[in-house]
């Protein structure tokens, strides 16, 4: 056995009960409709920001694109 025996702690009923409870509550939180709406809203705002930046980028390149088309 090495310097740290985790097996005995992991086998304790209180530890396993805590693990199960923590897993259940995190899963429930992740499925909470309000949290899902919040997450989806944050993702959407990030993506809209990304799209705005892309549009700006395209606009900045527009003169070069036009020159390229003429050639």
């Amino acid at each position: 056995m090495g310097p740290f025996d985790f097996s005995s702690i992991a086998a304790q009923p209180w530890f396993q009960a805590w693990q199960r409870a923590a897993a259940d509550s995190m899963a429930a939180a992740a499925r909470d409709p309000r949290l899902m709406r919040l997450g989806a809203g944050m993702l959407r705002s990030q993506l809209l920001m990304g799209r705005a930046m892309q549009t700006l980028w395209q606009a900045a390149w527009a003169p070069a694109d036009a020159l390229n088309d003429r050639e």
């Binding site: 693990q19 899963a27 899902m36 993506l47």
Partner: protein
């Protein structure tokens, strides 16, 4: 190509390079974690666990996939199998470790195993669609395999989303396969569980996502899967610390976790179709799915069909798979249910000793 589009193409190529680096980084991190856990148990680190375990040969390399061949252990047996994995995952979940390899088991049973190993889609990804795979890469691979076996058609094994692709392929190219075996394959997506809720059209806009990102990065896909069981990462570390004294378990852990972090980007065009047509509109089971303007009629799927369902599958809930059976025209069709999870279908010892011999028997009877 216009200059700003060149930048866009370059950014998608860089994203693919980033994904590769993430995969290498994850493998290194997992080995370090395993070494630390072993140290706590007073044991030496395990030997390096690389990717696929069994020697193979790349037969053909196209822009979207490599066709890889694992020769049969019984030369001349001539029973070809073509494996189609999910578009985002590397195929070698079926060849993780020498003692935990579905491919090696099939080769020992006399099958010539061919696998499609998907490549990163790069700048072409946003323009790709289901047709490039269902009418392009897969039929081409099936033709090549048949040509190498004197015209003998391959049995196709589709896993997860690769199964959905295989179903569409089998419905549209019934003359190119001998039989079809599906593993954890969703068909009625409305019944597929939490992933269906995550992609609900009221919250999830696949078009906006792909407009901005081009292709779906694996990191983002993985975060979706991790949301299904957010505490899992912690539990895995606890298991590693607890079991680190057993070298075999640690090797299994490192091999599986490294595979989970070794993904390719989901081609943007296919992702749009996948989410809109399948998850949000469920067109495949409504028989109104169209690829490149032509219908995918599951009623034209006539090949012998084996549908393997994992009863504890959280990625493809069993009802989403079972829904396929009444939709197909196959006279020879069977459902095989097994008490395991989605990945356990190919990576658990019990699946290898109890499930896969039955699958191999089924395919042998129809070879």
């Amino acid at each position: 190509m216009q200059p700003h589009n060149e930048w866009r193409a370059l950014s998608l190529q860089l994203a693919d390079t980033f994904d590769t680096m993430v995969a290498y980084g994850a493998r290194a991190r997992l080995h370090a974690q395993a070494a630390f856990a072993r140290l706590l148990h007073g044991k030496e680190p395990i030997e390096f666990v690389a990717g696929p375990a069994t020697p193979s040969r790349v037969l053909e390399e196209g822009p979207l996939a490599r066709l890889i061949h694992y020769p049969s252990a019984q030369p001349g047996a001539g029973k070809p199998i073509l494996i189609v994995a999910s578009l985002i995952n590397r195929y070698y979940v079926m060849d993780l470790l020498p003692e935990l390899s579905v491919i090696s088991l099939l080769a020992r049973r006399g099958f010539d195993v061919y696998v499609l190993d998907w490549k990163s889609p790069g700048p072409d990804g946003p323009e790709l669609g289901f047709s490039d795979y269902v009418d392009g890469v897969i039929p081409r691979a099936a033709r090549l395999v048949a040509a190498r076996h004197a015209g003998k058609l391959p049995a196709v094994i589709g896993y997860c989303m690769g199964g959905t692709l295989s179903v569409m392929f089998a419905a549209r190219h019934a003359d190119k396969l001998r039989s079809l075996c599906l593993l954890g394959t969703p068909v009625e997506f409305r019944l597929s569980g939490e992933l269906y809720n995550l992609t609900d059209r009221r919250r999830f806009d696949a078009d906006l996502l792909m407009d901005v990102l081009g292709n779906m990065p694996p990191v983002m896909m993985q975060s979706g899967f991790k949301l299904l069981n957010p505490f899992d990462a912690f539990n895995k570390m606890i298991s590693l610390l607890r079991d680190a004294g057993d070298a075999e378990r640690v090797r299994h852990f490192v091999a599986l976790e490294s595979w989970l972090d070794d993904n390719v980007a989901f081609p943007g065009g296919v992702y749009r179709e996948y989410i809109r047509a399948l998850y949000q509109d469920d067109l495949l089971c409504k028989r109104t799915m169209r690829i490149a303007g032509t219908p995918v009629d599951l009623g034209k799927l006539t090949a012998p069909l084996l549908n393997v369902i994992a009863l504890r599958d959280h990625i493809c809930a069993p009802p989403a798979s079972r829904a396929l059976m009444p939709l197909v025209a196959s006279k020879d069709k069977e459902v095989m249910e097994f008490d395991t999870g989605h990945i356990g279908l190919t990576t658990s010892r019990r699946s290898l000793s109890e499930l896969w011999p039955r699958i191999a028997d089924w395919m042998e009877q129809r070879a």
